[in-house]
Every structure is written in C-alpha cells, then in structure tokens.
Amino acid sequence: MSRKLEEYLIKERNRLDTDSPDEEAIWEKIEREMLTRKRKPALRVTGTGWIRIRNIAATVIILFSLGYITKDIIYTISARKQITLSSIDSNLERREEQYKTQVNYRIHEVKAMPVRDEAIISELYNELSRLDTIYRQSMNDLKVLGPSDRIINTIFDTYEQRIQLLELIILEKNKIANHENNENINL
C-alpha cells in the first residue's frame, strides 16, 4: 500500500508542487509562540513548588486527622465492645471453647429428651438463667478491672455449673421416665 503511494507521489510530483510557503507569515508565528513560551515556564516552576508543599502539608494534616479520628473510633468501639476471653489470651479462648462444646453437647442431649413440665426441672432452668446473669456481670467486671484471675475463674465456674445443671436436668428427666415405667409395670 505505501509502495503504491510512493510511486504515485514520484510520478505526480511536478503536478502537485504548485504552491510555495509564505515564509514571512511563518516566522511571525514562530516569534509569537516563542514569546508565549518564555513567559509560561517562569510561572509554572514557582507554582509547582508551592503546590507540592501545599500537597504535603495537606497530606500530613489529613493523616493526622485520620489518625485521630481512627483512634477515637477504635477507642469508642472498644469501650462499647464486650471484652471476651479470647481477646485476653488464646489459652483462655481454647478453654472456653472446650467448655462451650461440653455445654452444647448437653444442651443437644436435653433437647432430644421429651419436654417435662415438672417443678424441679423448672427450678433447674431458673438456675441456668441465673448463671447467665452472673456470666454477664463477670464480663462487665472484666471490662472494668481488666484481666483478673478471680473474674476469669468465676466465668469458668459458671460453665462448670451450667454443665452440672444440664446433667441434673437429664437426670431428672430420666427419673420421671423411670418412675412412669415403674408405675406402668405395677399397674
């Protein structure tokens, strides 16, 4: 394609070269442009420096502000947030998980048994909810005092009591079932 164009230009050069450039007008234009260019660079160099300084200052101010705002937000969130054993120590987290597993296992066992509306079982459920209150209280105290062995022991104690109470619920439900069996046998 470019070869064809080249051949065409060579062949038709004489016919195409009819106009000559207006040299005066060209030099005038060049002079004008050079004058304009001379003014612009002087202004641009000074402006860029100032802009850089201004930008750095702005960045620093923004970083500071962001830092303060982030700190403030984190602090407020932490203050509101309930402290957990896992946030204190990974061993405590592991121990709590083990207790939770045991509690959940027994809860499943209790749920699998028939519902019994007996006073002794209601009393055991009341004891369980009382333990929830103590657990919440201990968590609040942990927030006030920070990590404290006494509080942590109380928290684990509530888990042990929960397990014990759930076992008693299972025992009581079994007792009722056994009693019903005994009565049926005797009838």
């Binding site: 750095i56 620093v60 500071f64 009393e123 404290s148 008693l168 005994n182």
Partner: protein
C-alpha cells in the same frame, strides 16, 4: 523527581511516627503514696468499709479511734493525670461522727480497662488515664465496734473482732480471726475462713466457708462448701452444697442435691431431695425425702413422714416409723424397739438384729419385701391379712390361733413360743407382701 517524592514521603512518615511515639511515651509518671485518715469514734461505733479490688488488712485495737491508710501505686499517662489523681485522693473525705464512720476506697465513678490501660472517671467529674494501678489498704478499728464490710475482688485479712460483724462479699478471699459476737454474711464466689465464731447467719452462693468452733449456724446456700469444726444448732437450706461439720447440736437440713457429714449430732430434721446425709451418732431423726441416701451409724428414733426412692442404712436405730414410703430401701443392722410402716409401696426392709426392748414390726402396704432376723428363742405374736402373700417363716414352730385361706386372701394369727402378754407383735397387712423371718 521520583527520588525526591520518595524522600518527602519518608520524611513525612518518620515525622508522623515520631509524633505518635513521643505523644504515647511522654508524660508517664508514677504515684507511690500512702494516704491516711484518722477519726475519733466511740468504742461501739458503726464502722463501715466499702472495698473494691484492693487488698485490705483489718486490725483491731483498744483505742477509741479508727485509722484508714490507702497506698496507691499507679502509673499515669501524663503529669496532669498524676496531679489530678493525687489532688483528688488528698482531698478525699469520709463521712464520720463519733458513732459512725464509713470508709470507701472506690473513689471513682466509673472505670474502664482496655488493653491493660485504664480510664478512670473520678467522682469530681475529672478523668485520668492510667497505665497501671494497685491499691492496698489497712484499717484500724476498735475491737468492740460494729463492723460492716462490703467488698469485691479482694484479699482480706482480719484480726479478732469482739463486736458484731456484717459481711457483704463478692469474689473475695477473707481470712479472719476469732469472732466474739454474731456475724451476718452475704456472699458470692468467696472463700472465707475464720477461727472460732459465735452465731453465724449466712446467705452464700458458690462460696467456701471454713470455721473452727462456732455458735448457732443458720445458712442459706447454693453450690457452696461449708466446713466447720463444731457448732451449736445447725439450720441449713441448701442447694447443691456440701457440708462437713463433725460436731453439731440439733440439725435442720432442708436440701436439694446436697450432702451433710457429721460425727456427733443432736436431733436431725431432714427435708431432702437427692442428697446424702452421713452421721456417725445422731439423736432422733425426722425425715421427709425423695431420692436421698441416709447413712446413720447410731441414731435414736427415726420418723419418716414421706419417703420416695430413698435408701436408709443404719448400724443401730432405736425405732423406725414410716408414714408413707415408695420404692425405698431400709437396711438396719440392729433395731432396738420397733419398725412400723403405715403405707408402704414396693419398699425393701432388711432388719438384721433386734434389741432386748423389741416390741415388733408392723407393715401395711403393697409389693413390699421384708427380711427380719430374730433370736431363735424369741416369742412373738404373728398377725397377717394379705392378698397374695409370700411368707417364708417357720410355721412348724408356731401355734396357730387362726389361719383362713380364701383363694389368694390369707388371714393368719399365730404365736411363736410362749404366748405371754407383751411379747413382740409381727404384723403384715396388704397386697402382695413378702416376709422372711430368719432365726439365729
């Protein structure tokens, strides 16, 4: 150009980090100071102490004055915080008069600890930031004063006290001396230890209470352990507790899922659900119970108003009288006087030996199995009205007064040995009753 940009960024970052580091570290200061307050009071004044997260030592003296010393060891985040806290503690006042003083070491309105850093809002509204804080206190009180202690999360030691004591504790560890007046205790999750005490009235939850020789003890407890060397009367309302008191006078034990162990006790009144009472020597015993176990080595008259699925074992009882029983097991090595059950259902009675004062055994009920061992030479009067009886007795040794067999109904009246007045009476009435009489 690019190098310049990196350099500017690095300088800015370094500056920023330096500012953060300096602001975090600068100004931290320690306070290590003991503040003290002293008041003249009557010897029988009311002295109250509110204590929180602070190791407290309570001394008693013969002076008519109180003194409170609080040692604060704290690290604050700034000089300003240090001044604020020190000035505040210096200006701390406690309400006092010759008849009463109240000390309180919870000088803050609120406290919040995050990542081991504490923000404390003081009661004057000012806030201080603390890196750490430890408080310990010492209190001197007249030994005869009336002392009220309210405490949480603390280690407490206390001298002998002659005046009355009121304790309201939560998760403390209290080691006390002798209490020469009565004490009233309300506690959760604490361990309390006293030398000898007078009367104690307590409401405890998940606590440990240890004491020496004590007066009358009246306790409402849950999930607790009580060890007392000896006490006068013992009144307990327990839930999931363990009591060990070797020496007691009369005992009233109302309990669920709880155990009591004593060596020598007075009379026992027990209302039990699922638990164990073990007594080496006891006076007369009254029982109302379900799913409980009784191990009474030596006891007096035992009266059971209601028993369900219980087990009572005894080496020696004066007598056993049961008003109503179901699925229970009574095993007595020696019964001195008599055994009686007015309404028995599917129980088991095993009596291995009778004493010289034995007057007889009377059982009325259904499906009950009884094994009675009597001296071979013992004369007794045997009476029975039973449908479906299962008797294993030596009929040949008996003189029949009457024996009427009507299908499954058997009415039997006989005498073994010499039929003189006042001989023991063995009487079994009811439905499907089983009786074995062994002789030795």
């Amino acid at each position: 150009m690019k190098t310049m940009k990196i350099s500017i960024f690095r300088t800015s970052a370094a500056l920023l980090l330096s500012v953060i580091f300096v602001s975090a570290c600068a100004g931290a200061k320690d306070i290590q100071r003991t503040f003290s307050w002293k008041f003249n009071v009557n010897r029988d004044a009311n002295v109250a102490m509110v204590n929180y997260d602070c190791n407290l030592t309570i001394h008693t003296w013969d002076k008519a004055e109180t003194e409170f010393r609080m040692t604060v060891d704290a690290e604050t985040k700034s000089e300003e915080d240090t001044k604020t806290l020190e000035n505040y503690l210096q200006g701390l006042t406690f309400s006092n008069s010759p008849s009463s003083v109240t000390f309180n070491n919870t000088f803050w309105e609120s406290r919040n600890t995050i990542m081991n850093k504490t923000t404390m809002k003081l009661k004057n509204g000012k806030t201080v930031n603390l890196v750490s804080m430890k408080i310990s206190s010492e209190l001197w009180i007249p030994s005869t004063c009336r002392f009220d202690l309210n405490s949480k999360y603390s280690q407490i030691t206390m001298d002998d006290l002659s005046g009355p004591l009121t304790l309201d504790l939560y998760n403390d560890n209290l080691i006390g001396g002798n209490l020469f007046s009565d004490a009233e205790i309300s506690d959760k999750y604490s361990t309390m230890e006293f030398s000898n005490t007078k009367n104690i009235r307590a409401n405890i939850y998940s606590s440990k209470l240890n004491a020496g020789n004590s007066g009358n003890i009246n306790i409402v407890s849950k999930y607790s352990r009580v060890n007392i060397k000896s006490c006068k009367t013992l009144t307990v309302n327990a839930y999931n507790d363990k009591y060990n008191i070797p020496q007691t006078e009369d005992v009233t034990f109302t309990a669920k899922y709880s155990d009591l162990v004593t060596e020598n006790s007075g009379n026992l009144k027990a209302d039990m659900y699922e638990g164990t009472i073990t007594m080496e020597n006891a006076g007369n015993v009254e029982i109302e119970s379900k799913y409980a176990l009784y191990m009474l080595s030596n006891a007096g008259k035992c009266s059971v108003s209601s028993s369900y699925n219980d087990k009572l074992t005894s080496r020696k009882l004066t007598s056993l009288k049961v008003v109503q029983s179901k699925y229970s097991n009574f095993r007595i090595d020696i019964i001195d006087e008599s055994v009686k059950d007015l309404d028995s259902y599917n129980d088991t009675f095993t009596i291995s030996e009778t004493g010289n004062a034995f007057t007889g055994l009377t059982l009325t009920g259904k499906y009950t199995k009884t094994t009675l061992t009597l001296p071979a030479a013992l004369s007794y009067h045997f009476k029975s009205v039973v449908k479906y009886p299962d008797f294993n007795i030596n009929e040949s040794a008996m003189k029949h007064i009457s024996k009427i067999v009507d299908g499954s109904d058997v009415k039997w009246d006989a005498i073994k040995g010499n039929g003189s007045e006042g001989i023991p009476v063995i009487e079994v009435n009811g439905y499907s009753m089983s009786l074995t009489i062994n002789e030795k």
